[in-house]
Symmetry: C2
Subunit: 376 residues, 2 copies
């Protein structure tokens, strides 16, 4: 089968670009002397997670319990579920632990710590727990110097159903950095926050074996990871137009695309209509606020060459609207039926609409199909 035989819309992975993206970050993190724990939330696919460790099963991060179950079924055992745990979700976590998974959960609240311990004690389970630290006011977590960090550490350490296993942070604000220097500074801010929290916990007499931080921008730009034991990153595998826009990669590094077909010409509106709309691309418009706004995606030809002057201006449910940045569309270049590839704004969101990837590598042949898991 070749790429032109595929029913559109569907996902294409450029295997060479993906391998290069993986090699770049794993080499950098390796050079800095820490463990790399890929966040599989972007790809949600066993073959790709294996590529992050030369074909071997290694530590991973997940964003849903469903992912944890899917990767556990494939033999992965060292898993951090990096979204705040609540007591109501412990049954599925326990089922994984009972199967032998070294599942680690995160929280940022002492009351929740106690409730999880109570559940663990009542159900003959000891949950390995990490404390989420806020390194940049981006999302969840406790400030590294907050007294609550020690309160949570104490609750987890003293709880009969919990074991304190470490600290974790994610510098999501790195997505708003405007230059390499800002990303380097953000990576150091992330490192400083997580190591400060770890030091505070240890000074209070509690253990803190895992010191985990990361995001694709900070993992890419980190210069020093002293005190950190492991780094997480997810979107680096595919990259996307947003990451290219903030300077984490180049547009030509983007390994994921949505194969689409031109289905209509609107000459009087200078628009080509395709079959990759809001469901096929996602409605993520994260490049919208930036100088590099590419609408709902960059456009490349079937061979992966980015077409500079056109972009996805709009995305209705099953219709993508492509127009020019400047001047008139050359409609003759894109007759109805033409296949194009859209490079997404945000790979994590785009990939989630599909059950499988079609893999190419240097030719138009589909060399493999890889499944992914979705849902919760």
């Amino acid at each position: 089968m070749i790429i032109d035989d595929l029913y559109t819309p569907c996902l294409i992975i450029d295997n060479a670009k993906m391998n290069s993206n993986i090699a770049r970050i794993t080499s950098h993190i390796g050079d800095l002397g820490v463990t790399f724990r890929p966040h599989v939330k972007t790809t949600k696919s066993v073959p790709i997670a294996l590529k992050c460790r030369d074909g071997e099963i290694g530590p991973i991060t997940v964003s849903t319990i469903r992912e944890a179950e899917y990767f556990a079924d494939a033999g992965f055992t060292d898993i951090i579920y990096a979204v705040s745990m609540v007591p109501g979700k412990l049954a599925r976590a326990k089922a994984l632990i009972d199967k032998g998974v070294e599942l680690k959960l995160i929280i940022d609240d002492a009351g929740v710590a106690t409730d999880i311990s109570t559940y663990g004690e009542a159900n003959d389970c000891i949950f390995k727990m990490m404390i989420e630290i806020d390194s940049d006011m981006h999302r969840a977590g406790l400030s590294p110097d907050a007294p609550a960090v020690i309160e949570v550490a104490r609750a987890l350490h003293d709880g009969a159903g919990t074991a304190l296993t470490g600290v974790l942070t994610h510098a999501g604000e790195s997505y708003n950095c405007q230059s390499d220097d800002e990303m380097i500074a953000m990576a150091e801010q992330e490192r400083a926050a997580i190591t400060t929290a770890a030091d505070n916990i240890r000074k209070s007499g509690y253990p803190c074996p895992i010191v985990s931080c990361g995001s694709t921008p900070t993992a890419t730009f980190a210069q020093n990871l002293s005190g950190v034991t492991e780094v997480r990153a997810g979107v680096f595998v595919f990259q996307d137009a947003f990451q290219a826009g903030v300077g984490v990669c180049h547009n030509n590094d983007i390994a994921l695309s949505v194969l689409t077909t031109v289905i209509s010409h609107k000459v009087n509106q200078n628009r080509i209509i395709t079959d990759a709309g809001g469901l096929a691309l996602s409605k993520d418009h994260s490049t919208g606020g930036a100088s590099f706004d590419c609408g709902y995606g960059l456009v490349s030809d079937l061979d992966g060459n980015i077409i500079d002057n056109i972009f996805v201006e709009g995305a209705n449910q099953e219709h993508g609207l492509i127009t020019t940045k400047n001047g008139d569309l050359e409609f003759d270049k894109y007759p109805i039926g033409t296949k194009l590839r859209i490079l997404p704004n945000h790979s994590c969101m785009t990939a989630a609409a599909y059950d499988e990837y079609n893999v190419i590598d240097g030719s138009d042949e589909i060399i493999d199909k890889w499944q992914r898991c979705n849902g919760w």
Copy 2:
């Protein structure tokens, strides 16, 4: 099982509200004397499509061939695929026709008409074709008075592999109307466009049995459908915050919600964090440009009562960020573990992340689970 037993995030349908939404539009379209052909792209679920015709199988509109296959498997036979067809997708259409489905396809190009006829002739198939008409410069289709309408009609009528079956339009610009009067006017504009195209085709000596128009706003506000044979609408079943914002319904009519759990408190940022993020809600921010911006969704309690002062400000992949419109969050009202329901901006996009609906009706009991199809 009761609603509080559900693992979050997941979809909830309020059956009474949905039934009321369906009754309202089917009664209105019935009063206007035309056939109602629901667009199943929103719900993609057989039990819900059946409700649109008192439990009987009726004509439907689909947005993907996958939907056509799913509904055909359930016995639906009168199906319009309302996205421009291209020759490369005909094999699956033919397979449905071979099974006895009265599948109707739409196009807006004479060259494509000829190519489809050629394919049909070569494969012993006559494709029933409709011409897409542009009633509002919203998306695809030919202007009603364009000479190309007659060219396409001729190609379809004369083609050995095609049969001209009618005209179709969708006044998508109705989503930008600002008042009832504007929607009434847009409904009339849509009617005038599609009946003009039908008249032009008939005057040229070609048949035009089906005259199809519709969108939820125009179907709701149409005062006169003279010359129209059928009306399509989709999102009316669930409604959503966008439809409420433009006056098509009230917030209390919204029948779809995402059940979510509070997973973290960020008191220093006046934020509650939930487990319904960008994948659970979609990144559709269609209310963002309007005076009624509700971020990524309105918030209700477990019983469905909308909480006026809070909304979903942000949506990361698996984290929803809820804050207040005014003043400080009352964190004590929403302890970690609390379940809330998020009413989406755009039901079609939100529902697409899930495989099933959980149905409630006047109590917290889950009275049914309905499957839906996704993908292409």
